[in-house]
Structure formats: structure tokens, C-alpha cells
């Protein structure tokens, strides 16, 4: 096994991807439960759904970026 603390940090940053997964799942799940209650209103809200997913996902991408920086820039 080779590597240094930066590699451990990169691995820890990957936890952020899991956190983003929870966030995206929350958004999509709540959208689905709302959509099943009122299907006629669901179609108009898909844009909001994607905006919400994008905001939740952005922070996971930040974690990925931190991992990349630790791997290749530090």
C-alpha cells in the first residue's frame, strides 16, 4: 500500500458523494409522493424537480472536486 494523507483525504471526500445521494433521493422521493397525490399538478413541476436535484447534486460535485484536487493538485 502506497499513498499519503492526501489520498486518505480524497477517500474521505468521497463520503460527500453519498451525502449528495441522500439529498437527491430526498428531492426525487418527495416529488414522487407529491406527484402520486396530485398527478395533474406533477407535469408542471418537473422543472422545479430538476432545479432541486441540480442544487442538491452540486454539493456532491464539490466533494468530488475536493477529491480530485487532493489527488492531482496537492
Amino acid at each position: 500500500m502506497e499513498g499519503d494523507l492526501a489520498h486518505i483525504g480524497a477517500g474521505l471526500a468521497a463520503i460527500g458523494s453519498g451525502a449528495a445521494a441522500i439529498g437527491v433521493g430526498n428531492v426525487a422521493g418527495n416529488f414522487l409522493s407529491g406527484a402520486l397525490r396530485n398527478p395533474s399538478a406533477a407535469a408542471g413541476q418537473t422543472a422545479t424537480l430538476f432545479i432541486g436535484i441540480a442544487f442538491a447534486e452540486a454539493l456532491g460535485i464539490f466533494a468530488f472536486l475536493v477529491a480530485l484536487l487532493l489527488m492531482f493538485a496537492v
Binding site: A10, A54, A58, L65, M71
Partner: protein
């Protein structure tokens, strides 16, 4: 994922030619001069230049050549062009409102460029231009500057009302103003990194799975994995273009109507 592959890569280099993994997942993002040589100057034609040019030509082919006949019953190409136009037009109208339609050409340009660049990047051996933050940061900064300048031109100092949440209790407003200000300036960062990060991560995952195919025991699973991830990437390529465009529309709406 990256840690593991880099270690494999280093181990390969140590063990020499008999090793299995002959490429690195991040190698596909290296910017190389197109006609040999090592130095990349400001004006060197690189593989990025080449694939950006291909992207622009593809968009011209899709939007101009297919619609030049103006058939009443559209063919395949014209149908795609009309669908893309209608899709973005409806998006701008829904999110920004009628007065946002003035800026539809800009948003249509953004959408077509990103979606075509994403799809062309999925062609095997192609270079994904949108996987580089240098490309997406220019797009996001252009949106940020446009929207900010437009906000001040259209609303004057009332544009600052975007940061002054008048529906909140008075004591909270200064704190909220600081938060709103920070989130406003983080916009171009997240806007650009979301697209670049998604494209980079997806393509790296495809290459990692492709690397597993060199171990013959798990090769069938790896090939199925590449196929599945490729399908997912087709979806992501479209969704990220959609998300970039719709966020542009949201920012534009904030600039046109800054009141909360």
C-alpha cells in the same frame, strides 16, 4: 475510485509491460496540440479546438441545413431542430415569463452548444470539451456577467432588493442579505463545476469499467457495466445541458424581477 486506479496505474508502471491496465482513466482529458509538439500556446490548435469546431459544425448542420428546405411535413432532421427550438422556447417562457423571451436566442445558443458538445463527447475516442472547467467557466461567467449587468440596467439600484428579503423579519434581514450575497457569488462556481464535474466523473467511470474488462474473469460484467454506464451517461449528457439552461433561465428571472 480515482485512488484505486492511480495505485493500479503506478503498480503497472512498476511491473512493466505484462501488467493489465494500459491506460489511465483521466488520460482522456489531456489537452494535446493537434499537429504534434508539446507546447500549448494561446493560439495552438489543440484537440479541444478540433472538437469545439466539430460541435459548432454539428449545430450548424442540425439547425441550418435540415431546416433550409422548410418542408411543411418535416423530415427527421427538421423534426429534431423544431423539437429543440420548441423545447427551449417553452422552457424560457415557463421559467422567465413573456418578457424573458427577448433573451431566448442566447439561451438557445447555450443549450444547443452544451447538449451537442455533451453528446459528441460520448462518441468513442472523442474529446469531451464540456468536461473542462475552462470551457464551462467561460459559459457560466458569461451568464453571470450578463445577468448581473442586465439586472442593474433594467432595475437600477432596485436590483439590490434581490439581497434584501422584505418578507423576513427586520432583525433577520441583514443576516439573510449576507447569505444571499454569498450564494449569489457562488452561482457561477456551482454553475460551471456542476456541468464539468458531471461530465468528467461520468467519462472517468466509463474508462474505469473499461479497464476492468482487461481482467478476463470479470470481462463480461465489465462490458455490461460499460454499456449500462454509457446509457446513464446519455441521460446525464442531456439532463446536465437542461439543468444548465434552466438555471440560466432562473438567474435571468431574478435579474428581470429582483423582488422576492
Amino acid at each position: 475510485m480515482a485512488t484505486e486506479t492511480v495505485d493500479t496505474h503506478a503498480a503497472d508502471a512498476a511491473h512493466g509491460a505484462e501488467s493489465s491496465l494500459s491506460f489511465h482513466p483521466m488520460d482522456q482529458f489531456i489537452v494535446k496540440p493537434l499537429f504534434g509538439g508539446d507546447t500549448v500556446n494561446f493560439i495552438t490548435p489543440t484537440n479541444v479546438t478540433f472538437w469545439l469546431a466539430i460541435t459548432v459544425l454539428a449545430i450548424i448542420g442540425l439547425l441550418v441545413l435540415t431546416t433550409s428546405k422548410r418542408a411543411i411535413v418535416p423530415g427527421r432532421g427538421q423534426s429534431i431542430a423544431e423539437l429543440a427550438y420548441g423545447f427551449v422556447h417553452k422552457m424560457v417562457e415557463d421559467v422567465t415569463g413573456k418578457d424573458g423571451l427577448k433573451y431566448f436566442p442566447y439561451i438557445m445558443t447555450l443549450f444547443m452548444f452544451i447538449v451537442v458538445a455533451n453528446f459528441i463527447g460520448l462518441v468513442p475516442m472523442a474529446f469531451t470539451t464540456t468536461s473542462h472547467i475552462a470551457v464551462t467557466a467561460v459559459l457560466a461567467l458569461a451568464v453571470f456577467l450578463t445577468v448581473t449587468i442586465l439586472g442593474f440596467v433594467k432595475n437600477g439600484t432596485e436590483f439590490l432588493g434581490l439581497f434584501w428579503v422584505s418578507s423576513a423579519p427586520l432583525a433577520l434581514r441583514p443576516i439573510l442579505a449576507i447569505i444571499e450575497l454569498i450564494s449569489y457569488f457562488v452561482r457561477p462556481v456551482s454553475h460551471s463545476i456542476r456541468l464539468a464535474g458531471n461530465m468528467m466523473a461520468g467519462h472517468a467511470v466509463v474508462k474505469v469499467f473499461a479497464g476492468f474488462a482487461q481482467v478476463s474473469a470479470i470481462a463480461p460484467i465489465a462490458v455490461l457495466g460499460v454499456t449500462a454506464i454509457y446509457g446513464l451517461e446519455l441521460l446525464v449528457a442531456f439532463i446536465q445541458a437542461y439543468v444548465f439552461t434552466i438555471l440560466t433561465c432562473v438567474y435571468l428571472k431574478d435579474a428581470l424581477h429582483p423582488h422576492h
